[in-house]
């Protein structure tokens, strides 16, 4: 399946960005083939508002089935749920570790937003 992971840097060694909407990069991984594709999300980094919604909209266009990130606010969660994208939490991991964790079924999925908007 295709998974989008929020990342601080455009590499698999990067830390998972704990912020969903204002993550600098989205790394899309095909968990079957290991193929990766980096999307720049910097345009949302300085959005006045609605960064989580915009990022969710971008992710929906990437046709992924799941997102791996740190925290998701209520607007972003509502947007992701509307297209049935599952959200998995990865705390202090690299992107590569998060992919392994997901493949091994070690990451927990969220069934609601786990932070308020603008939580940082």
């Amino acid at each position: 399946m295709l998974v989008a992971i929020t990342a601080q840097e455009p590499t698999l060694e990067s830390r998972v960005d704990q912020r969903f909407g204002r993550a600098r990069y989205l790394i899309v991984v095909d968990t079957e083939t290991g193929e990766t594709n980096v999307c720049n999300n910097e345009v949302n980094l300085n959005a006045a508002q609605g960064a989580g919604i915009q990022t969710a909209q971008n992710i929906a266009q990437l046709k992924v089935e799941a997102v791996v990130t740190g925290h998701v606010g209520p607007n972003a969660f509502r947007a992701l749920s509307a297209v049935g994208i599952k959200v998995y939490k990865a705390s202090d991991n690299t992107v590569a570790e998060a992919i392994d964790g997901l493949n091994e079924g070690k990451l927990t999925s969220l069934d609601c937003a786990d932070v308020e908007g603008h939580w940082e």
């Binding site: 959005a47 609605g50 960064a51 919604i53 929906a60 947007a79 992701l80 509307a82 297209v83």
Partner: protein, 286 residues
């Protein structure tokens, strides 16, 4: 004429200047409206003590999508600058608390699938206080969108000779909305590093807006000379200096109009009225 009282820094004395200027101008025979546009925390009523005669809710238009007509073209999401409407797959989601009510999504929808609903952002209250027509806005608690409410407050300015606009602090959208059609802006500051820093921001804003302005220095004998030096170097008129006087602080803390309690304060605001209002109106009453 419309006189807006603004400041970069909060707590410098905007409301003190606005309410006292409104009162002395009324006492000198002008027909005055006072509009409290600091709708996030209006406090002019504490000093003017109006009798509220009318309360009106204010709504912003928010989109409601008719899914049976929506073609999921995404044009609405492209025009929205605030991410208040998003296309997820074939579903359009709206986020009313992010919507600024511009109506752009309704205009661009080729399928006519977007209708307008109202979201209450606050209330406008009108009344009279000591001969002054009084209007203020009260933003709904938790609401972030103040400019539409400020616009509603300003719409209720009658055709008084003098309209005093008490603006919120800062230099952001609510301030721009408050000062934008003023004939003159009074910037209130204090002679401290914070006061100077935020005065510069406010001056930069007013220069972009091309509005004429002058400065009132409150608690003028505290701090340092930097605000005065700045005004001199920038050729900005210092309209009035209000001293740091315990009697003023006490009268303020009791919710009094200081011009009514302390005769020398009445003189301060009469001189301000002459420099700001009379000079513009060329009135014979001054």
């Amino acid at each position: 004429m419309i006189v807006a009282i603004a400041s970069g820094k909060g707590g410098t004395g905007k409301t003190t200047v606005a309410t006292n200027l409104a009162q002395v101008a009324t006492d000198q025979g002008f027909k005055v409206s006072y509009l409290d546009c600091d709708v996030e925390e209006p406090n002019g009523h504490i000093f003017l003590k109006p009798e509220i005669e009318k309360t009106t809710p204010v709504y912003v238009p928010v989109p409601v999508v008719d899914e049976s007509k929506c073609t999921a073209c995404g044009k609405c999401t492209e025009i929205c600058q605030y991410s208040a409407i998003a296309l997820l797959g074939k579903t359009v989601l709206t986020f009313p608390n992010l919507c600024h009510g511009c109506g752009g999504c309704m205009l661009v929808c080729p399928a006519g699938a977007i209708n307008e609903a109202g979201r209450e952002v606050g209330v406008v209250e009108q009344g009279r206080a000591n001969g002054i027509q009084f209007v203020h806005g009260k933003l709904r608690i938790g609401e972030a969108m103040s400019p539409p409410l400020i616009r509603a407050v300003k719409k209720l300015a009658d055709l008084s000779e003098v309209t005093i606009v008490d603006a919120p602090p800062g230099t952001s959208c609510p301030v721009i909305q408050s000062v934008r059609n003023a004939d003159y802006v009074v910037l209130v500051t204090e002679p401290t590093p914070f006061g100077l820093n935020d005065l510069k921001l406010a001056v930069d804003m007013l220069r972009v807006l091309k509005l004429p302005f002058g400065v009132v220095v409150n608690r003028a004998d505290i701090g340092d000379q930097a605000v005065f030096n700045y005004c001199e170097n920038e050729s900005i008129e210092v309209l009035l200096q209000i001293p740091d006087d315990r009697r003023i602080a006490e009268a303020y803390s009791r919710g009094h109009i200081i011009a009514r309690i302390l005769p020398e304060c009445a003189d301060f605001f009469i001189s301000l009225m002459k420099r700001v209002i009379c000079a513009n109106l060329k009135s014979k009453r001054c």
